[in-house]
Symmetry: C2
Subunit: 119 residues, 2 copies
Amino acid sequence: MSPSAALPARDVAACCATPVTSAPLGADDALELARVLKALADPARLRLLSLIAAADGEEACVCDLTAPVGLSQPTVSHHLKTLVDTGLLTRDRRGSWAFYALVPGALDAVAGALQRPGR
Amino acid sequence: MSPSAALPARDVAACCATPVTSAPLGADDALELARVLKALADPARLRLLSLIAAADGEEACVCDLTAPVGLSQPTVSHHLKTLVDTGLLTRDRRGSWAFYALVPGALDAVAGALQRPGR
DNA sequence: CCCGGAGATCGACCGACGTCGATGTTGACG
DNA sequence: CGTCAACATCGACGTCGGTCGATCTCCGGG
């Protein structure tokens, strides 16, 4: 169990408390924001997010995501777990399927952490 | 010379043409956006960006950045080069010093690529 | 013309990460 | 209760990226 997986990982919004351009950004805040951005900095995960966002009801199961991204099922599961651990997705197990959905406002919080507060 | 370093790297705004949440996001667009996000997904680079943004005139030289981030001079130069190549910073050589400044609107463009178009 | 300082580049080391096949787990259905 | 399908986990492999010390380049000053 890695130390980074042990933390709450439920509050993506916490990283937008101090926007990058407003103050020198402490070491801890930089580490937290980098953790979320690192989860986003992968083509496969970006495509998975957009596929889920564009899906009906804004949720999708693994079987619907494997083909479009062109990756194996274990790899897709791995990426989805990463996004869930980061607090960007939620997992809902219904029957044999696992439905993934966007956490409302999570992406907006990350976007807010990058913009300058003045404008 | 890596293939990724050969491309223009001047238009960070190009990656916000199709927001993550608006369409399934093609493989090429995902690769481009991931390239910019990967440059941001590092604590040291985030701190460098915030230091430059908070500096007087929104520019700073390497000698002023080495101490605050607690890294060696070659490492800081390496990170700054990464940010310049990605189109997030500009380098201006004046005398013996190299001044780095934010590219106006670059961070906002990345932020725009993460937000949903609807709101 | 020579020297010193600021910064960039080089080469190397090492940990982190994406990817896969194989296997384990869990629920649905006869 | 046995079987199958969907998904998660595991172990391994190859690559990429952050970091450093050493060195190179360039400019200013004496």
